[in-house]
Symmetry: C2
Subunit: 84 residues, 2 copies
Amino acid sequence: MDTVTLAGYLAGTLTTISFVPQVIRTWKLKETKDFSLAMLLLFAAGMSLWTAYGIWINSFPIIAANTITFVLILSLLWMKIKYR
Amino acid sequence: MDTVTLAGYLAGTLTTISFVPQVIRTWKLKETKDFSLAMLLLFAAGMSLWTAYGIWINSFPIIAANTITFVLILSLLWMKIKYR
């Protein structure tokens, strides 16, 4: 794999795993006041479209990264609605 | 432009603009307790790599979307450090 492709994979991995500490923190604090509901909704909509795009162009890295991020964002959205 | 490419652009636009209502909300509330610092740092690192990736592969949409997201995340990170 060349350096550029590796950088792309590393970028995708970083943005995907970044939501893990956030989900853990929100799960522990049970507080979501600081989050914008519009942000979570727009981001979740974007993620579902990214996943659809990945399926269309048959790109496994795009499908994998965006499906994981989508699930993490959905859990934040669920906690935002539950702990408001 | 075909439907697939259009979906990709729409997905990128949604995930990029999603941070605008978040920056506005955080700016108004001046509260960032609910945010994970690790999430903001990992996401900012990922965004800077995505931008570098866009420059390498010479893709204007990737450069544009990720530069805007990077600036929005940096402003959240700045507020996270300022209003803790």
